[in-house]
């Protein structure tokens, strides 16, 4: 039986604690008596018969939905949309769960005589997926059958001819999604719900939407009032998506939602990285030797090779649940299953919250984790992994550990470079950034061209990353980055520190002497349920 997540009170005999530090690692001694470490739950048991579970979900849907075979008929238009490269993280080992589901959906479509099928990577304003990435997600069989005929492709949020405007919500939010999907008799959406934020109406209303639609919830106001993104009922982001979902439903868009949850087996039970998901005092001699070998090896590699080595890791995730049917009914069950793996009860807030940021976030798969993504990962994703209230008190200090190199991927993140050089050099205030710069970047023809024809994130994407962290930015009294490039950290508006001890010392200026410290031992992913 896997052990649940737990909170360790650090004492004098607690060994140094592992901090992820980009593509490297640090072992840090936390002050005893006033520090605690939140550990994730061990991986829940995976489903043995994955194919059977998928079949069962498709044939026994939840909510007000007929079984998938009953929804398929000859002559219909079927669109299968699926999550893009940003999920899961790290990418999972082949066969990807999307492939397994899509193959079964297509098999049922073939049995029903459905000819008109399109497959769309629902990537919103993310970069287009390469052939290799699409092949990894949907498998060679599906790729070879559909892509050569132009039936498997990336969603294009800037193609006016292939977007359909469906109306506005009761709060005036415009809903515009992929035309092929909107005009289909059925959309089958295949989700990987890595965290509680994923799925629900957010899949279709965000993944297949255009900038015109996305700007209504990807803005500073909405994201500051999403507390947190991981708790749908307290998330303004989700409320907006749910309102858009109602517009979709009322417009006659029929969605058969398939959601899946994965366990916490991010680094495997054995192998070179298995030590990363063990608790430090349980590291065996072999674990310690492996850790030292991996750390020394990575330290000796050039940055490019180190990145390549880490990005080559494919997680051996196990499937813990798959459910299908009506969007909201499915999502309720999915969220409960995600929480079962991720939630760790935590009593009370802390003065200082520390995160070791890993090498990967949703927007740098096979790419560079640039300084803006460091901010988004730390203050956007990690900070929001809570339910109830943030683990750090308002005005507390957030300490991030990451090298934060002044480095950008020129193909993937062209607008990030300009955002960093132009916008952040001027101001780091999200509201001011939104008012003064967003439209200029969002409507820039060159960025639009690169998004549509190259592999670039949309021009507005770095803004969304900055907004993503705006709740954390507003909540924290100070943000310190340990071990980061000093110039890059200062450009972000944060404080650089060489060591964790220095950072803790600096933090006392804000939170006073002898502060309480909480370290989130993530990844594998955990979510603090703070009471």
């Amino acid at each position: 039986m896997p052990r649940p997540g737990f909170v360790l009170d650090v004492d004098r005999s607690t060994p140094p604690i592992l901090f992820h530090h980009g593509e490297q690692f640090r072992l840090e001694k936390l002050p005893p008596g006033r520090s605690r470490v939140i550990y994730p739950a061990e991986p829940l048991p995976a489903i043995d018969d994955v194919e059977g579970a998928i079949r069962d979900a498709l044939c026994n849907p939840l909510g007000d939905s007929e079984p998938l075979p009953a929804l398929l008929r000859p002559g219909m238009k079927l669109t299968i949309a699926f999550d893009d490269i940003s999920l899961p993280l790290p990418p999972m080992r082949s066969p990807d769960i999307r492939q397994r589901i899509i193959e079964q959906v297509l098999d049922m479509a073939a049995a029903a005589g459905v000819d008109d099928v399109h497959l769309i990577a629902a990537l919103a304003l993310h970069r287009r997926m390469t052939e290799a990435e699409l092949r990894h997600a949907v498998g060679d069989r599906v790729y070879d059958a559909f892509a050569p005929h132009g039936l498997l492709y990336n969603h294009d949020a800037e193609d006016p001819d292939n977007l359909a405007y469906l109306g506005t919500t009761d709060q005036g939010e415009e809903v515009e999604i992929n035309k092929r999907a909107a005009e289909s008799d059925l959309i089958v959406y295949v989700n990987i719900n890595l965290v509680a934020m994923d799925g629900g109406w957010k899949s279709t209303a965000t993944g297949l939407a255009s900038y015109r639609s996305l700007r209504h919830h990807h803005n500073v106001h909405t994201l500051r009032h999403s507390r947190s993104f991981m708790d749908r009922h307290s998330s303004e982001l989700h409320h907006s998506n749910w309102r858009m979902g109602k517009v979709l439903r009322d417009s006659g868009v029929k969605v058969f939602q398939i959601e899946t949850t994965l366990n916490n087996d991010t680094f495997g039970a054995d192998g070179p990285l298995s030590v990363l998901q063990k608790r430090e005092w349980e590291w065996t001699a072999k674990d310690r030797m492996t850790f030292l070998a991996v750390k020394t090896g990575l330290d000796k590699l050039s940055p490019a090779l180190r990145r390549k080595a880490m990005h080559s890791w494919k997680a051996p995730y196990g499937l813990t649940s798959v459910q299908a049917g009506e969007v909201e009914a499915v999502h309720e069950v999915t969220t409960a299953n995600v929480y079962a793996q991720h939630l760790v009860p935590l009593e009370g807030q802390t003065d200082i919250l520390t995160f070791g940021l890993p090498y990967i976030c949703p927007y740098n798969v096979n790419s560079v984790l640039n300084p803006i993504l460091v901010m988004s990962l730390g203050l956007g994703y990690f900070f929001n992994l809570y339910k109830g209230r943030p683990p750090v008190r308002e005005g507390g200090v957030v300490i991030l550990s990451h090298p934060t190199p002044w480095e950008f991927h020129p193909v993937h993140h062209p607008s990030y470079i300009d955002f960093f050089e132009q916008v952040l050099a001027d101001t780091t205030d999200p509201v001011e950034i939104e008012q003064r710069y967003e439209r200029q970047y969002a409507e820039d023809e060159w960025y639009r061209h690169l998004y549509r024809t190259s592999y670039a994130y949309h021009g507005v994407h770095p803004f969304y990353m900055w907004y993503w962290g705006s709740h954390g930015l507003q909540h924290a009294g100070k943000v310190i980055i340990v071990g980061g490039d000093v110039r890059a950290v200062r450009r972000l508006g944060f404080t650089p520190a060489s060591t964790l001890q220095d950072a803790l010392e600096m933090a006392t200026d804000v939170v006073g002497p002898q502060p309480t410290i909480t370290h989130v031992h993530n990844p594998p992913i955990l979510m603090a349920d703070v009471t």
């Binding site: 082949s94 066969p95 069989r141 070879d144 050569p148």
Partner: protein
């Protein structure tokens, strides 16, 4: 007085080696005669003149004992041979594109791999492409009359490819018992249910061996389709002509409760036909044809020989002879 040696016969020079050989032969004879004097039962009995001697039981063919080839020294030698020789050679000659291994990724335990059969290279190719952990705990059902017919090929087949003899000319319980015992013991089994290589490029009807073993041992059959090997080394040729191949693994198949080995074998054949269709066209088209029962059969159209060859299209194994080089007069 005569000169010494003048009237004596001339002696040839003595070869000391020949002398030693004669001595050795004499020694042997003397040993044989010694043995002949050893009383029965210390020596073999003689056969009475009036009795027809019973034929000595053959230790070849289906009777060849391959137990030694599954002991650790032989297994180690086979791993070295497969990884060091067979695999590089197969990849150099057949350039395989392997697909569908993800379909077997979930399964653990022994399995029966059943493939269509066009060429001798099929075995080497499968030994090189069947995924771990099955690859190195695999026995291969090989025709007893062909592979175990003499004292050279029999041990070589057992050692190099882990073959066990399968009787194909008559119904034999022993072959099935041996194979079942090995599967029960955790070994996986590779078999070509057609019973032999394709004579004309088209498949032959599947026999029930793989299906029978699956039913008997409760292990799944993994269908495998091989495409392109018939062009490399078709039946009747000895020199391989390198070319691309495609190996497609299917989902493991279990017999349903109402299936006997004949029906299961027929389903296995249909599944491999669908894999062949998938390899030739694409997965989606193949699935649609499978659902409308219009998957092209492995055995080809039942028409005249030339039309069957014609229907093979570019899959034909026909080879063009090298142009004769006439002397330049």
């Amino acid at each position: 007085m005569s000169l010494p040696g003048r009237n004596e016969p001339k002696r040839l020079p003595i070869n000391p080696e020949a002398l030693a050989g004669v001595a050795r032969a004499a020694g042997r004879r003397s040993l044989a005669s010694t043995m002949a004097r050893v009383p029965f039962p210390l020596r073999a009995p003689t056969v009475p003149v009036g009795v027809e001697p019973a034929p000595r039981p053959s230790k070849l063919g289906a009777e060849y004992d391959t137990d030694w080839a599954r002991r650790y020294p032989a297994r180690l030698a086979r791993v070295v041979l497969v990884e060091g020789v067979v695999r590089p050679a197969a990849y150099a000659i057949a350039r395989p594109m392997v697909g569908g291994t993800d379909r077997v990724a979930d399964y653990e335990g022994p399995a029966i791999f059943a493939a269509n059969h066009h060429s001798h290279i099929d075995t080497g190719l499968l030994l090189s492409t069947i995924p771990e952990p099955w690859r190195h705990k695999l026995v291969i059902g090989a025709a007893a009359d062909y592979f175990f017919g003499n004292r050279v090929t029999a041990p070589l087949s057992a050692l190099a490819i882990g073959a066990i003899p399968i009787e194909r000319t008559r119904v034999s319980r022993r072959s099935a018992d041996d194979a079942a015992a090995l599967i029960d013991d955790g070994w996986s089994f590779l078999i070509f249910p057609e019973g032999g290589r394709s004579p004309d490029g088209w498949g032959q009807e599947f026999r029930g061996g793989a299906a029978y073993l699956s039913l008997r041992c409760g292990v799944p059959v993994v269908p495998v389709h091989l495409a392109g090997t018939g062009r490399i080394l078709p039946k009747g040729t000895n020199v391989p002509k390198p070319g691309p191949t495609r190996v497609t693994f299917g989902h493991p198949l279990w017999p349903t409760p109402d299936e006997d080995s004949r029906r299961f074998a027929a389903r296995l054949e249909q599944t491999i036909a669908a894999l062949a269709d998938e390899a030739r066209t694409d997965w989606w088209s193949a699935r649609r044809r499978a659902h409308t029962s219009s998957t092209p059969s492995l055995s080809g159209p039942e028409v005249g020989a030339w039309r069957r060859t014609w229907a093979l299209g570019d899959r034909t194994a026909a080879r063009r002879r090298a142009a004769r080089a006439w002397p330049n007069l």
